[in-house]
């Protein structure tokens, strides 16, 4: 078995264990919520008898481990229960809201990499100059405010005072795009509707940037510090002694090796966006999973809480596995460990 496959297998196993742990944790948390979910679900006018029936149906009267058993059995069938609030299967709700969140996170992640890494690399290459100081200051600023503050500031600046971007939603009202993937950026293109695509793009810019800002800062800082450290490595001096152009040294000798330790952390940052999306989606009325999750928490919608958190954790783990694979790809030590 190749080392990369072996790594993948190992990570999948640990991820499964962790996911089971997460499900137990979140399940217990959700079940000790004060308040009767059945009562909440049935609304203010339900009778005691109706509430009792629903409690029975949801196994709420049984001991916690038994409830968990039911939960796992259902989960195995791909059934996360009915959202007590929307009255629809949680899996269906998630399927409906997830693409919007994924799209947002994906674009934000792209911004983080496309902007953050070059900034960090620039900073490292021109370390201790004014350019470096400026970039460090700006990236620290980026990390220093929660996403919702950036969201509000960006919205004020670029949607209200300079109305360049729309202020909320995923796409302008007039566009009706058939949902194929749920990713509007893709669906609009598939539909060949360029105007709708433009609308979708302009809608995603601000929220994604607000979400990405702290990631950009984090990525720039990390890239800089790892790259500065790499600049002290002997092979950099060797490259300089051979007169390789500075640009080439920066890219191939300083940047690329420094990405190996950076990748893991950047992966974590990327995953942290799953949480921060909660803040940004709230400000920009982005109809994503995070908004669904907040609503679920505020409304004590048990199944929806469990489903959302499980889904986000699974995504988190998947992102981490992907990051590990990318790391393996750029780090030949892992790829070629059998020959070591």
């Amino acid at each position: 078995m190749s080392p990369v496959l072996r790594l993948l297998a190992k990570r999948l196993v640990t991820s499964m264990i962790v996911l089971i742990g997460v499900s137990m944790l979140i399940f217990s948390i959700a079940r000790v919520i004060p308040g009767d979910p059945a009562r909440i679900a049935l609304g203010p006018n339900a009778t005691a008898e109706q509430v009792e029936n629903l409690r029975e149906r949801l196994h709420l009267n049984e001991p916690l481990p038994v409830q968990y058993g039911h939960f796992v059995a259902d989960l195995a069938r791909g059934d996360l229960g009915i959202s007590l609030y929307t009255n629809r299967p949680v899996t269906r709700d998630i399927a409906q809201f997830l693409p919007a969140t994924l799209e947002l996170i994906f674009v934000a992640g792209l911004m983080m990499i496309v902007i953050g890494l070059p900034l960090g690399a620039l900073s490292a290459r021109y370390r201790h100059t004014w350019a470096d100081n400026t970039i460090r200051m700006v990236s620290l600023l980026g990390v220093s405010a929660p996403a919702f503050v950036w969201a509000v500031i960006l919205m004020l600046l670029f949607a209200y005072f300079l109305p360049i971007f729309p202020i909320a939603g995923r796409i302008a009202n007039m566009h009706v795009v058939p949902s194929i993937t749920g990713f509007l950026l893709v669906d609009t293109l598939v539909a060949g509707n360029l105007r709708a695509f433009g609308s979708a793009v302009s809608h995603i810019v601000l929220p994604a940037f607000a979400l990405a800002l702290s990631g950009i800062g984090q990525a720039a800082r990390l890239t800089r510090s790892n790259m500065v450290e790499t600049y002290d490595r002997p092979y950099i001096e060797m490259a300089q002694a051979y007169g390789f152009p500075e640009r080439r040294i920066a890219r191939r000798y300083a940047f690329r090796p420094s990405m190996i330790p950076s990748m893991t952390i950047i992966g974590l940052d990327f995953a942290a966006m799953l949480g921060n999306a909660f803040l940004v989606e709230a400000v920009f009325a982005w109809p994503g999973l995070s908004r669904y999750g907040v609503a679920a928490i505020l409304r004590k919608d048990l199944n929806a809480i469990v489903g959302t958190v499980l889904c986000i954790s699974a995504l988190f783990l998947i992102v981490n596995i992907i990051v590990d694979l990318i790391t393996a790809y750029i780090n030949p030590r892992i790829r070629h460990s059998q020959r070591a």
């Binding site: 001096e237 060797m238 300089q240």
Partner: protein, 296 residues
Amino acid sequence: MTAPTLRISDLRLGFRRWAGTVEVLHGISMHIRKGERVALVGESGSGKSVTARIVLGLLQQVRSARISGLVEFEGQNLDTLSARDRARLRGTAMSMIFQDPTSSLNPVYTIGVQFHEVLRRRDPRLKMAEARQRAARALADVAIPNPDRVLDSYSFQLSGGMNQRVMIAMALANEPSLLLADEPGTALDVTVQAQTLRLMRDLVEEHDTSVLFISHNLGVVREFADRVYVIYKGRIVEHGPADSLFEDPRHPYTQALMRAVPRLTGGGIPDIEDVSEAYFAPLVVHEGCGEPEGAA
């Protein structure tokens, strides 16, 4: 008489630090003629490595460095060259070998890729396939039995001795006129070090390459160098032909260094605890070893 490959005259170096300028070189002069192997010997921190880096033009880029004096390469004053022209010399006319071969190779590229980059310094349009052939020949020259496998390997997959040979092969691949060897192979074990040095000596002899050999290891220097400069705290204290200097060390510091030799069997750093005022005595130059006159 043709200009020496390298001539250094009254070279001074200081670094600006928070508490003022720290002087590292106090005006050293030295030269290397074509095909000559010259050693610069001293403890760590004596200023030998910075000298090599000034020659390569690397220290000139450090903003806190204050450099004065003359460095001439093949009769050309490096100071008058632009940074770009200086960079053009590196990797083509001059090259360098480092202390720890394994960590001096980029861990994310194969040896073959790095060889390609080195060879392209001289021949920018060189294709990978051709570079590979030349690299294989160069590796064969340093007695690597299986060049193709090595070219496909990463530095961390090879032994230190193997990497050292790779480094030597790379350093000589573009047939430089000056090779700077900074403590080559110190990180390796003694027998391997000796083997690779012998290999290097044979190759430079064959190519008539001038070598500045920087070391604290007197045993190695004696075996390798034609002529020796001893450096102490940024000053050259003694200068002479290797044989004469080793048989008849005249400067108190050189003598102390020699006494320390038996303790250095592991190739470690000379261990001279007692600092004596006598070490600061003026330069001793052995017969027939004067510095050439200023720019002719």
